[in-house]
């Protein structure tokens, strides 16, 4: 214990290797550090600069959103015979394969729309994010013909009645949207470009170019569109778009692009094949054409949020300035 007067030294034949911890700024917790303190100046600087950043962004988002020209038309409730007013009659109509489901809608373009103009269909109250639905697909089968039997998760649309695998299997593919639209202006057809509407990554890496539809929609219960069995999946762009399941219960899917400008007051006629059954679950169908800007489609929320955050920052910057002046420490 003691070294000073050596009262216990003889016992220490044990070598006295000093156990003194080696000094380092790290072990002594003396590393150089920056210690920011929220001084009044710093607080106001932070808040003001937030306001300076946020308010202009907000304003420009709002103006960008204003510049988007978007036409939305709900047609599921009008494209049915006017006599079928109740639920069962609507379902009866849509499930009857023999009836003519063509329907014409006429729009007046309110403002000039520069190309490309995106054509979407919108489904409301369709839970493409439902757990049962999301899981009901086989990514392996979509990519490789060798995995066409990998249909474990696809029940109840895994195999046809002869136990042959359905390609593409699963509820998602089975419920493929099958309404079609034809646009014309003054009796001239407007071409809708349906090329490259799906992600390139999906076309090249997810949906095989040597996988062809098989046994698809061959059973009694038809969920939606049929597929041309001679076209490989990688070129079935409507399917690819559909299978990238939407995040939210109300969603749009890209139908195609109009590659010409639409002038203001143009009268557009749309011929809709109203095939898809949304009546059974009170879903809504809408047709949308929209231009885009740097923030995407029409969306006021982001701009308003930025304005709110910027405004709040500005408010508190002023409030704190007053506080710091009135009640200095």
């Amino acid at each position: 214990m003691s070294s000073g007067d050596g009262s216990s030294e003889p016992s220490s034949k044990i070598s006295k290797i000093s156990k003194k911890p080696r000094y380092s700024r790290f072990t002594q917790q003396e590393l150089p550090a920056c210690k920011p303190i929220l001084t009044p100046g710093l607080v106001i600087t932070i808040l003001i600069s937030l306001a300076i950043i946020f308010i202009p962004i907000g304003l420009s988002s709002i103006s960008a959103s204003e510049n988007v020209v978007e036409l939305v038309d709900r047609y599921d409730d009008v494209c049915i015979p006017s006599n079928s007013s109740n639920h069962d009659e609507k379902i009866g109509f849509i499930q009857d394969a023999a009836t003519n489901k063509t329907c014409f809608r006429t729009w007046i373009v309110p403002k000039k729309m520069n190309h490309p103009i995106f054509v979407y269909y919108q489904l409301d109250n369709f839970y493409q994010n439902h757990r049962r639905y999301v899981k009901s697909r086989s990514d392996h089968q979509l990519w490789s013909p060798k995995s066409e039997r990998a249909t474990k998760l696809c029940e109840p649309e895994a195999q046809n009645d002869d136990d042959k695998p359905i390609v593409p299997c699963g509820l998602i593919a089975w419920s493929l949207f099958n309404d079609t639209y034809r646009f014309s202006r003054n009796d001239d057809a407007i071409e809708i470009n349906k090329k490259d509407i799906a992600w390139g990554s999906d076309r090249t890496k997810k949906f095989g170019s040597d996988v062809y539809p098989k046994n698809f929609q061959t059973r009694g219960l038809i969920g939606g569109a049929k597929l041309n069995e001679s076209i490989p999946l990688s070129q079935q762009e409507d399917l690819i778009v559909w299978m990238r399941t939407a995040a939210l219960p109300s969603f749009r899917k890209l139908y195609g692009r109009i590659e010409t400008d639409l002038e203001a007051n143009d009268k557009i006629t749309i011929e809709i094949q109203n095939n898809y059954n949304t009546y059974s679950f009170n879903g809504r169908k809408k047709l949308v054409i929209s231009t885009t800007t740097w923030i995407g489609g029409k969306n006021d929320f982001l701009g308003r949020m930025y304005m709110t955050v910027g405004g709040t920052s500005l408010f508190f910057a002023i409030a704190f300035s007053i506080l710091f002046v009135i009640k200095p420490r």
């Binding site: 214990m1 070294s3 000073g4 007067d5 009262s7 030294e9 003889p10 016992s11 000093s18 003194k20 072990t27 917790q29 590393l31 550090a33 920056c34 210690k35 303190i37 929220l38 009044p40 607080v43 937030l50 839970y127 493409q128 994010n129 439902h130 757990r131 049962r132 639905y133 999301v134 990514d139 029940e155 109840p156 895994a158 046809n160 009645d161 419920s175 992600w199 990554s201 890496k205 059973r219 969920g223 399941t245 939407a246 995040a247 939210l248 969603f251 899917k253 679950f281 923030i295 995407g296 489609g297 969306n299 929320f301 982001l302 949020m305 930025y306 955050v309 704190f320 009640k327 420490r329």
Partner: protein, 1108 residues
């Protein structure tokens, strides 16, 4: 001795002339001489004839009896029978443990099951496991198999590897230990066999510097007197030599020539390394054995050529192995409170799950008619001829499954990773405490030790400190200071040293220098005056009445040899050194005699009886047969115990003078002892001897022995008294200021052990508690070890406040274990306290940096980390929860299951650990300068219920911001689930990391690396997940990251979520700053705003004075 300025001030303030500055403690000696009664005095040892018959003062009798009753009576059922040199017979009836030891826990075969079994003792892991198992059921498979098992598997694997490595090392050391060789008597000859083959009952021979293979009773040693010296460093850390004796009955036997046979009957194996009770039947005689007759496994034989003994405890039954268990595990207060909040979180979890399952049930009910065909549900399976339900188990079961699935999805609401993070942070904190240079003790070359790993943060919340005085507040360095002998005061010790002269041979010189009082020295040389006789007896008592072993050490000068006194008690060492300087040099000690060099003349005294010091009698006595054939008993002990046995009929003036001196010395802060002497007439001695013999051979029935002591003691007389006491205040540098700050209104309560007997365990406890809580300092003197624990329990049971006990001796063990935090001082009183403690350090003064600096940091860091972890996990769970509301309550997660799992493992775990280890709210200097900052921990300012709820509110807001901004920004767009999931993942991660960054106080480079690195790592992980083509989210990140909206969302979420927090934080810091905030600003700007006005609610400081 230490240069602390505080100490100097305290010392100076005492202004005691008798002090010599360079000693750490002082010793005074006073002595009265009173007359013996016998009248048989021959020579100078007669002290005059005052009283002819001693008057008995038997006041202490009751105590002794009470004490002796506490000795354990061992009947035959509890005894262990060992037939000496007959291991077959010894082991045939009872299977005594062999001597092989096994500290390894596992074998190759048992490793996996046992290790897993032990790991799953943690509730957290079981929770993990149950969830992982649930997820394996096909109906509940929310996460992919790999993703659900990975975290648990990872933690289990890391722990298993660590355990396996540790166990491997234990196995290796076991193997080395077991195959060491020892000499064992086999067929009348000593043969070398391996340690693991030694059996109980065998006779073992150990040579000098060898380690004992098992616990054995000494039979004989190379010394004719049967003494053996052992060093017990391995056992209790004490490095001085201890004496152990072989019984005379066996000492003369040589087992190689004559067969020894006998029977030892001893107690069952137990952990007490300082106790042993047995008796031995040998040659028809019954001999009693005590702690001084046994040497324990792990000790080393020193200064003794060889020793022979019989193995009584082997292998795992040895005391060393029984003591091998670690410190008992405690749980920190913070963790206890945290568990309360975890219960709240569990309630939230259940609530969320109930909401989801109820809503799901309602949804199913409302859509009952549509489910069969609905494209996104398809309840019916038409593939077979008869239509049946597809994957649908009825309404009730669906709800139940949704409930279980939501538990799986929301599992991280209970922050399992927090437990692991906390362990890592504590390891980091312990690292810094151990490595702190300022808590390294040069003198003992010892670092700070963290023995308990899970109560670091308790150090920041201590409200009551219980301190042992002896050796803790004071250092156990003793020095002879002054003496009062025969009523005369000798206290003018000067710093000079006399050459210890001995006739012939090399010059012997005591190793330690002692200050000498010239007057006393002259008297001691001239011993034929009456004063001289007193002095002579006084010094013989000092030299003889102890258990010190003198050792001669060579010096470079061949003519001079140093004599070094080895002993267990620093008191005794100091006294023997003092006696040596005054010409009474203890030269030799065996169990049978001692040799004292008295003024150059070697005299031999026979030791006829010896009662070692014990804390109940508080006395030690030795009966010596002097060279002049007289028999004298010398007694030494605490003043109270000594005055009760003084023959009061003697010289009252002398007694009075002595008492006055005693008080004078005590008030100087010296420790005092009283010594006395009495001559025994041959008849008295005979009477005593016979009663001693019969008492000591009665197995364990020490009552009778104590009886004979009592009888004997009552007639002993006072020859003098020594006092030695250290200053309390002087030894409390710094700590003083911390705990006693408060100025004029100091109230102190002093209580003694005898009163405590009446208080503890009665109704008075409550009153004592009330009274003591009004005092700043409470002093309890003369407290028995268990009373110390009783006092700690008194406080602990009545308040929630944290208690800390600090002590250095075996008598503090119970108190250290009782308190919330136990600290052991690795001082001179052995290592028992350290072994029982949670933290151990070299000096008492390290308590100040330990509590004020490290305790504060640990507490602040840990509390913040816990709150942050709650927030971090809850915010993520809420983001998942909000999404579930938009999926018709089916627990789809837009965030990929891998991200869900990695969130608390990779994305956000490192920064919180780094900050938990490194961040400092205040510098060491500020914390030491303003001790009131410690109050933050005492008042639980950094972790309490209110903060928890505020944090949860903040969490709610932030989760809303993180979830709904993308939801609304992308509402009605063609966004797909995976892309939006990536956005939510990144938003949550960036938000919680920036949140953390806002609260960081000191930015080190490593902090920057951890926080920004985590964000980058998250981006990388999300990208990696999105380049795997077989996952549904293939390439999603790259698509969404190509749009401006994505980045604007991230920025908007982060700022929008954190602005409220920022504003509130600024407001509180500006308008209601706490002490820490003020000190932080003062630290940065060094301006006038010192936190002087802060009120301090200071600790109670309890000093528990043990026996003297």
């Amino acid at each position: 001795m230490d240069s602390n300025s505080q100490t100097e001030i305290n010392e100076n303030s005492y202004q005691v002339p008798g002090f010599i500055r360079n000693s750490s403690s002082r010793r005074s000696i006073s002595s009265i001489q009173s007359k013996t009664s016998g009248g048989h005095s021959i020579r100078e040892v007669s002290f005059g004839e005052l009283g002819s018959k001693p008057i008995r003062h038997g006041s202490r009798g009751a105590d002794s009896e009470g004490f002796s009753a506490s000795y354990k009576e061992i009947n035959d059922d509890d005894a262990r029978l060992i037939y000496i040199n007959d291991p077959e017979r010894t082991n045939e009836k009872f299977e005594f443990a062999g001597n092989s030891i096994r500290t390894g826990k596992y074998s190759v075969l048992t490793f996996l099951p046992r290790n897993l079994f032990e790991q799953f003792h943690r509730v957290a892991y079981i929770y993990f496991l149950v969830i992982a198992i649930l997820n394996q059921l096909p109906q509940l498979a929310v996460f992919g198999r790999g993703a659900s098992i990975l975290p648990l598997a990872f933690v289990l694997l890391v722990t298993a590897i660590k355990d396996a490595y540790e166990d491997y090392r234990r196995h290796r050391s076991d193997k080395i230990e077991n195959s060491r060789l020892a000499w064992v008597l086999v067929n009348e000859q000593f043969q070398q066999i391996r340690w693991k083959e030694i059996r109980v009952g065998e006779i073992i021979k150990v040579s000098a510097n060898e380690t004992l293979p098992c616990d054995m009773v000494l039979l004989s040693t190379s010394e004719t007197t049967g003494v053996a010296y052992v060093q017990t460093t391995n056992l209790d850390g004490e490095s001085n030599l201890k004496t152990r004796y072989a019984k005379q009955e066996t000492q003369m036997k040589n087992p190689e020539n004559e067969k020894i046979s006998g029977l030892i009957k001893c107690e069952k194996p137990n952990r007490n390394i300082y106790g042993f009770q047995a008796n031995m039947d040998i040659d028809g005689k019954r001999v009693s054995l005590g702690p001084s007759n046994i040497i324990l496994r792990g000790c080393e034989l020193k200064n003794t050529e060889w020793a022979i003994g019989v193995a009584v405890f082997a292998g795992r039954e040895t005391k060393a192995m029984l003591n091998n268990s670690g410190a008992p595990s405690k749980r920190s207060q913070l963790e206890t409170r945290m568990n309360r909040e975890i219960i709240f979180l569990s309630i939230f979890l259940v609530a969320l799950c109930v909401i989801v399952s109820v809503c799901h049930g309602v949804w199913l009910r409302n859509h009952k008619d549509e489910l069969d065909l609905m494209q996104f549900y398809r309840k019916k399976d038409y593939s077979e001829s008869d239509v049946e339900n597809y994957n649908y188990y009825g309404w009730g079961m669906e709800i139940f499954f949704v409930f279980l699935m939501s538990v799986i999805v929301f599992q991280i609401m209970i922050p399992i990773s927090l437990y692991i993070s906390m362990e890592l942070v504590r390891v980091g904190q312990a690292f810094f405490m151990i490595r702190d240079n300022r808590m390294y003790d040069e003198a003992s070359n010892s670092r700070f030790q963290c023995r308990a790993l899970n109560i670091n943060e308790d150090l920041g919340q201590i409200k009551y400190i219980f301190s042992d005085k002896t050796g803790t507040l004071t250092e156990n360095k003793m020095e002879f200071q002054c003496a009062s002998i025969g009523g005369k005061d000798y206290s003018n010790a000067k710093d000079s040293n006399e050459d210890g002269q001995t006739g012939g041979g090399p010059v012997l010189r005591p190793k330690m220098k002692v200050k000498i009082d010239r007057g006393l020295l002259n008297i001691s040389i001239n011993k034929h005056t009456s004063e001289g006789r007193y002095v002579n007896d006084f010094f013989i008592a000092l030299a003889a009445c102890n258990t010190i072993v003198p050792l001669t050490v060579d010096t470079p000068d061949p003519a001079v040899k140093l004599i070094d006194y080895q002993g267990e008690s620093p008191d005794e060492q100091a006294l023997v050194y003092a006696a040596a300087v005054y010409g009474y040099m203890l030269i030799e000690r065996t169990s049978g005699h001692i040799v004292i060099d008295i003024q150059g003349e070697r005299q031999r005294f026979d030791v006829l009886g010896l009662h070692e010091f014990d804390s109940d009698r508080k006395r030690m006595s030795v009966i010596l047969g002097c060279p002049d054939k007289t028999v004298k008993v010398f007694v030494k002990g605490a003043d109270t115990s000594m005055f009760s046995v003084i023959d009061r009929s003697l010289n009252l003036n002398m007694l009075k003078a002595t008492e006055d001196h005693l008080h004078a010395y005590s008030s100087k802060g010296l420790r005092t002892l009283v010594v006395g002497m009495r001559e025994l007439s041959p008849s008295e001695f005979e009477q005593w001897h016979s009663s001693y013999e019969s008492a000591s051979t009665a197995l364990m029935g020490r009552a009778a022995l104590s009886e004979s002591r009592k009888q004997h003691r009552t007639s002993s007389q006072l020859i003098g008294r020594i006092r030695d006491r250290r200053q309390i205040a002087a030894r409390r540098p710094g700590g003083n200021r911390v705990f006693k700050k408060g100025g004029a209104n100091q109230v102190a309560l002093i209580i003694d052990g005898t009163s405590l007997v009446y208080i503890l365990d009665t109704d008075l406890e409550e009153q004592l508690f009330d009274l003591s809580s009004k005092c700043n300092v409470v002093l309890c003197c003369r407290v028995a070890p268990l009373q110390k624990a009783g006092i700690v329990a008194l406080i602990k049971n009545r308040t929630d406040d944290m208690t800390l006990a600090i002590g250095d001796g075996a008598n503090d063990v119970s108190m250290i274990q009782m308190a919330d935090v136990g600290i052991g001082i690795s001082g001179q009183e052995g290592r028992q306290a350290v072994m029982a403690s949670d933290f151990a350090m070299g000096q008492f003064r390290f308590l100040v940096p330990l509590l004020l600096v490290h305790g504060h940091w640990n507490y602040q860091r840990m509390s913040y980390m816990i709150l942050y972890n709650f927030y971090r996990n809850a915010v993520f769970v809420l983001v998942l929860f909000w999404y579930v509301l938009f999926t018709s309550f089916t627990l789809t997660t837009a965030i990929t299951d891998w991200s869900s799992v990695l969130y608390s493992v990779i994305y956000t775990s490192v920064p919180t650990i780094v900050i938990g280890v490194l961040d400092k709210d205040l510098s060491r200097t500020s914390l030491l300068k303003h001790p009131q900052l410690y109050g933050a921990g005492q008042r639980q300012e950094s972790y309490n219920g209110k903060l928890f709820w505020v944090t949860m509110l903040d969490t709610l807001w932030q989760s809303i911001a993180a979830f709904f901004v993308p939801l609304l920004a992308y509402w009605g767009s063609d966004i797909d689930g995976s892309s939006l999931g990536d956005l939510w993942t990144l938003a949550a991660v960036i938000m919680v990391n920036i949140h953390l960054a806002m609260d960081v106080i000191r930015w080190y480079r490593i902090t920057h690396a951890a926080i920004w690195g985590s964000i980058v790592a998250t981006f990388v992980c999300v990208m990696v997940i999105d380049v795997l083509p077989f996952l549904p989210g293939y390439w999603a990140f790259f698509h969404i990251a190509g749009t401006g909206l994505f980045w604007l969302c991230l920025l908007g979420i982060t700022i929008g979520a954190l602005v409220p927090r920022f504003v509130v934080k600024v407001f509180i810091q500006y308008c209601r700053p706490d002490d820490i905030q003020i000190a932080r600003e003062a630290e940065k700007f060094r301006n006038s705003r010192d936190p002087q006005d802060a009120q301090i609610e200071m600790n109670k400081f309890w000093i528990l004075l043990g026996h003297d």
